[in-house]
């Protein structure tokens, strides 16, 4: 029996060694666009979040955070996304913006929540950001803009450094490519429909911010999401093809929640 146990342990070790050895081969291009690892991506995400923490306060209103979490979970669970693998961070600022950071992080500014007229509009924006995550747009963009070497160097830097601040500024104030925006829109429409949320509200939101492009308080989400009017038209067209009926997402008073 002693011999059997010993041979079993050796076999187990051999099995683990072969498995681990093979897993080092990049079969699925998991280490992203060139060869930057998930760990590096996560570290960069953490750094950018620290940078945001230096700049803004986290939202602390429990009822607001609970609604955001409810919407996040509802969209993720209806679409086979693990809600806990994506972190949602809400920051207190009047800036009307939401963005995706590396490491599967979505950042939402309370200004955007206040600008949304109802929970469905926010859900539309959130679904759009989840689309960017699902399509890995943020790392594709960072790889093309900064390259592998800088990204790996960046992961070893400290929050507060000028480089990190600049990267955060780029990610939160400049746009993805038009194709990426449309991909995220398409994903958002599917996510919303699956979650039983009417996508027309995302179209309404896009249309509303497009009319503010020349206004006094220009939403930052406009600069990061161009062609809002054309994209809204596409969403309305897709919505017209659906024969589903949608229930209201949030039965509380959205405006009161935002006050």
């Amino acid at each position: 029996m002693k011999k059997a146990v010993l041979q079993f342990l050796i076999s187990l070790l051999l099995f683990a060694a072969i498995w681990f050895g093979l897993s080092r081969i990049d079969f699925v291009g998991e280490s992203t666009t060139e060869s930057i690892g998930r760990e590096t991506e996560r570290r960069i995400g953490d750094l950018l979040l620290k940078q945001l923490d230096l700049k803004y306060q986290r939202a602390y209103d429990d009822s607001l955070l609970a609604v955001v979490d409810m919407i996040h979970r509802r969209i993720c669970e209806a679409n086979g996304l693990d809600p806990d693998s994506i972190s949602v961070h809400v920051f207190e600022t009047s800036t009307i913006n939401a963005a995706v950071l590396p490491g599967r992080n979505v950042i939402i500014f309370t200004g955007l929540l206040q600008f949304a007229e109802n929970a469905e509009e926010f859900a539309g924006v959130h679904a759009h950001e989840l689309g960017h995550i699902a399509e890995n747009h943020v790392m594709e963009r960072m790889m093309s803009e900064f390259g592998t070497t800088l990204l790996i160097m960046m992961s070893g830097m400290d929050a507060g450094s000028e480089v990190i601040a600049n990267i955060l500024r780029i990610l939160t104030t400049t746009a993805f490519s038009r194709e990426q925006e449309r991909e995220a829109d398409r994903a958002a429409i599917t996510y919303l429909e699956e979650a039983g949320i009417d996508p027309v509200h995302l179209g309404n939101f896009l249309l509303r911010i497009s009319t503010r492009e020349s206004g006094r308080r220009v939403p930052e989400w406009v600069s990061t999401h161009p062609d809002s009017r054309a994209r809204a038209a596409e969403i309305f067209e897709k919505r017209g093809e659906m024969d589903a009926e949608f229930e209201p997402l949030y039965d509380g008073d959205w405006e009161a929640l935002m006050r």
Partner: protein
């Protein structure tokens, strides 16, 4: 990996055939067993139960064949379960998953070759003991 120690007695022709068949049983089932690992185990298990009153040589080889199938069952069940999780659950197509599939495939292939070899050898009256499963069989199979 494979040894040919002497067996305590020279088994008669009928025992040789049954011992060899215990390996052939798992060989036939292995084709179905890749997507449905339980089939392998059931086939060998049924054959094992049918021969539990047979001669020591037959029982010894039925036990070795069944123990190897139990191990392969867990390896393949892991592969099938993970595949279902990736394609129908929240699992991701990762390098670890692909690496596991390849490792499982290699183990199945090795087991397949060993099974053919052992089926032929036992039919000729040669006693074959496998790495790990041989000592395990000695510990479990009483004379």
């Amino acid at each position: 990996m494979i040894q040919h120690p002497p067996f305590p007695y020279q088994p008669p022709e009928a025992e040789l055939e049954k011992a060899s068949n215990s390996y052939l049983m798992s060989l036939i089932a292995i084709m179905v067993g890749m997507p449905m690992p339980i089939v392998n185990l059931l086939a060998t298990g049924i054959f094992f139960l049918g021969n539990r009153r047979g001669g020591y040589f037959t029982r010894w080889h039925c036990t070795q064949a069944m123990l190897s199938q139990i191990t392969i069952f867990f390896v393949n069940a892991g592969a099938v379960g993970w595949t279902l999780y990736v394609f129908f659950g929240a699992g991701e197509l990762s390098n670890y998953y692909i690496a596991y599939l390849i490792t499982a495939l290699l183990i199945n292939l090795l087991e397949f070759i060993m099974t053919i070899y052992t089926a032929v050898k036992t039919r000729r009256g040669v006693h074959v003991e496998w790495w790990f499963w041989g000592p395990m069989t000695h510990a479990l199979c009483r004379k």
